[in-house]
Every structure is written in C-alpha cells, then in structure tokens.
Symmetry: C2
Subunit: 338 residues, 2 copies
Amino acid sequence: MMGVNEFDLIARLVETVADARRERTSKWGVQVAVASGDDAAVTVPHGATAISVDSLVEGVHFRRQTAPLGSVGRKALSAALSDLAAMGAAPGEAYVQLGVPDDLDEGGCLELAEGLAQVAAEHDVDVLGGDVTRAPALWVAITVVGHADSADELVRRAGASPDDVLAVTGELGGAAAGLLLLDRPELAEALGEEVAEALRRRQLDPRPRLAAGRALAAAGASAMIDVSDGLGGDAGHVAMASSVRLVIELERLPLQAGVGEVAAAAGVDADDLATARGEDYELLVALPLERVDRASAEVAATGSALTPIGAVEQGEGVVLLAADGSEREPAGFDQLRP
Amino acid sequence: MMGVNEFDLIARLVETVADARRERTSKWGVQVAVASGDDAAVTVPHGATAISVDSLVEGVHFRRQTAPLGSVGRKALSAALSDLAAMGAAPGEAYVQLGVPDDLDEGGCLELAEGLAQVAAEHDVDVLGGDVTRAPALWVAITVVGHADSADELVRRAGASPDDVLAVTGELGGAAAGLLLLDRPELAEALGEEVAEALRRRQLDPRPRLAAGRALAAAGASAMIDVSDGLGGDAGHVAMASSVRLVIELERLPLQAGVGEVAAAAGVDADDLATARGEDYELLVALPLERVDRASAEVAATGSALTPIGAVEQGEGVVLLAADGSEREPAGFDQLRP
C-alpha cells in the first residue's frame, strides 16, 4: 500500500460501497441522520435492533490464489448478514473494517469493495462506515445491524421444545465440496461443469437466507441458527441454548447435487461434508409440527425450500441417526484449530 | 492457538468482558433483550444511535515487545469510544472481533480481554458480542454503539462557522512523546520518572474524553472531532466538512509535561509531536465565542480542561501560526503510509 493515502482510499471505498444519503428513511423505518464521513454514523432506529460481527482472514478463511477479491468482499458481507437471517431480522446497515497488506494495491481494494457493494445492493443494506488500516495479511471485519418491530419477533437459539420438528433451508454440503474442488481441481472430473461450478460458487459466494429467515420467524419458529460452523456443531449450539436433544436423520439431509460424487472422489464421507464442515449458510430451525406446512410454503415463496431433517427431544446434545439405525455424535468445525 | 477450542475460548472471553445480563435497562434507556451467545445481540434503543468502528493491528499500531496485552485491549476499546466522545454520544454497547496468531496463548487472549473489560467497566459499556478467529498477526476490531435522545444533540464535523473559537481538551503531544520513549528508552534520561511514565501511559493507555464530549455537545459546540490522526490532519477534516479555514496558534497548544524535553532529546520539533502525530485522543472543538466560558466550566467539571487554540475563518484548509507570525500547513499522520 506504499504511496496510497488512507483518506483518499477511504474516500474511494466509500464511493464504491457507501450510500452517502442523508436524512433518508429506509423501508424498515430507520432514519439515517449521519452517514459515512464523520466520527460515527447516526441512525434513529425503530423497534428492536440486532447487531452481529463477523470476519474473514486471509490464510484462515480464504486464499487469494483461489478466491477472487470480489468474492472475498461478497462472502464477508454475506456471512455477516447470515447471522441476521438466523434471527429473522431485516438487514439495515453495515460497517466495514479492512486490513490491507502491502502487496494489495488500490485496484485490489476496490475489487473487494465492489463485491461488498453488490451484496449490500442486493439486500438494500446501507454501508455507513468503515476503517482501513495496513495489516500483515488481508482481513475484513464486518458489523451488520438488522431491525424488527419488536424484540419478540426475533428468533433465538434458545426456544426449541421437545416434539418440535427440526428442519433446514436449501441444500447442504455444497460449500465443503466446493472448497475441495478449489483446492483439488482434478476432483471435478466426475462432474458436469455446471454442477462443479455451482459447488465452487457455493463456497465462494454463499447467499444469506434473509427472506427465508424472516418467513420462518413470521411462521412461528421456536429456535433458529445459521449453518456456518457445520450442521452438527450449530445444532449443538441450539441444543445447549434450548436444553434439548436434537436428532438428525442423515438420510433426510438435502445434499447439494455433486456433493456425493466429490466426497467419493476425495475419499471422504458425504455426510461429513454436510454435517461436520461449515459455510453452507442455510438456516437450521426448530418449529412446532402444526406450523411446518405454513413455514414450508412461506420459505418456498422466497425461492428456497424447507426440509424436515429430524426432531427435538428431551435430553441434551446432538445425535446423527443413520439409515441402518446406528447413532453417532457430530464432529464440529473449529475455526481456531489449524 | 493449537489445541484451544474456539467456542471454549469465546466462552472464557465472554465471561471476562461481557455482561450476559438479560432484559436489563441501562441508564441511557437502552433495553438489552439478547446479550452475547446468540447469532446477534438484540437491543431496543431509545432516541438516536451513533455507531463507529476502529481497529488496532500488531506491527502497525502496536508492538507486543513494548505494549503489554492488557494495554492493547484497553487502547482498542478506548480509541473506539473516543469516536463516540467526538459526537457527544453516551457510550452504550461494544462488539469485539479478535484475530489471534498461533504464538498467542489463551492466557494472552484473556489478558487482552481483561484490558477491554476494565475500560468497558470504567465507562459502563456492555460488551454484547464478538468473534474470535485465527490470524497471521494479532488484531482487534471494535464496534461501539452510543446513544443520545435525538440526532440533533450529536455534534458533527460539519458545523464550524467563521468567528467560532477553536479549542482543545486536555494536553497534546504526549502520545507521540510516549511512543518515542517506548522505542528509545534512553530519551527518558532528561525527565523525571513520573513525567516519563505519564508520557508512556498516554501512548499505551489513552482515555476517551466521553464526559467532556457530552459536556461540549450540551454547551452548544458547532463541530467536533477527536484528535486521533494528529491535530493538523483532524483539523483538516473539520475544515473540509465545514467549508471553513482553521487557524491554530502554535504557542497556545497545551503541551503535556515532558513533550518539549523528549522532542529536544530526539532532535524533533515539539510542535510536530503535538500537530503531526496522532493518538492523543483529545477533542478538537469549534464553538461560538459566547459559549466558551460555559463550555470551559463544564469541561473542567469533568476533570479535564478546555484551551482556546485558534479561530475559525472564512476560506479553506488549516494554518499553523507560529509566535513569529510565520504560517505553515500541518503534516498529517496516515496509517497506510509505512
């Protein structure tokens, strides 16, 4: 970054990602009184505010050799927004912190910012602030702010009850299979190019299930979480927060097309790609049986699908139930383990 | 971080920094409906919300050889809160993202978290969420949320008018002199130990002027900014946002004790330490002449002092006026320049 002035770069990035609109009322009733360019952004929120933070780090969450900078920007914001989806919150504002290594030039920063800006535009998110600093490796730290009319409308991890149905949106395993394809391109030989490309896209460009999350909240979900650390581990968070036992039937998991073929070619278990690896960014939800039909219809209306995959029981922990009746505990995905 | 489980570590950090209080109403009228441990924190704010983000990166903003980890945690949160002080906002909540390198063990993370927790407690800030990830070097990215009854109560960078008085809280140059002492301990020989220690503390443990910021906002400040990038550069931001010219009289700058001696020993200009280097985290404020007395009294009541250092004029840019009548432009501090 030698020779690039921080304030000039921030100004360029702000031009790229931020809406410098003032005194604007967004569709969620949030007034933006001061947008980017001051010591802090100022909003006048309406109802309840949900805030979450998430970061992507080079060498840990992505490698620049396989992840284009635009997709790093897209994924950073999408992953953060996925946490709002898991609450059933409407996306509102975002704040971006960027650590820029010496070998990333201004063009690279702008490519990343353009990816962020695309996702912000897709979900009507205002990027209201940010911070750019030099760093030994590229990192992006995002703060997202979501809204709801009241705190009661938002769905927590606690709240799952015995006899609730456990269900998941969309398809699983694609992000892990896509990562295998990026690292070992020869694994794609058994797949059609369209299927392989969809798996790679799933890893590089996950989509936060914001509309599905709001639909599930409105349909009366008891508990919800996004599948970021792996279905098994994320189910464990719900089980612990709700003081229940979750039983997941492996044969009911909606695997993305090609996941089985990639797993076979790589010599790994397809179920492991769906349960022990993260980043599918689908929603895992518990809901009373009588609400499943309405929830399925409302999720379908958002362009996704809701698949029942198991049940909530009294007890604790998570059990993966195989077709032959055998049970095992899931392995988790831990971002701090090398 | 080998062998440390992310979720265990997060739980320990949360224990250290977070208030897991639920359904609590803080003194600013903000209800915390969901604290840490869910996909997002949920609050029900009252009035206007100010949000700012700020980060510290190892090798850029601090070196572990000279900065104890507790002080890194303290400074990260203090620097972020300083942006709320510059708006005149009351501090409310904070969110912490931490990038942890392999050579930092759990004890080191907790030491950093304890520093954060101290500053949070000092300013009654609730740490409601966070994210921990592996990283090539230590970084801390903070999001702070502040509050005011209405957006109009908050003071922006725009708003300074010709004939306003320009004033600064506290003392300047100490952070830059302290950094010189940390890098070159022999420079302290000309100083008493108490003066040297105060300079080092100023660099390692800056204090956000939150009470002074609120007092200045209540006293009718026209424009305000915190002195984080250097008085000259920060004055430039106010000049540009307000479309005015700021004249700073160098002989009126309130230099911290020992700054002149350290500058002389290092062979640099004491005025440069006060105007071209950052991190003093005092407040630079423009206010109408008739409000200066009240503002000074109210800032004094917070334990600080307000010193008039110049004037707002028609025009643009920033001028440093020396005692001999000569004028020059300030040099800025740019965090992206190596």
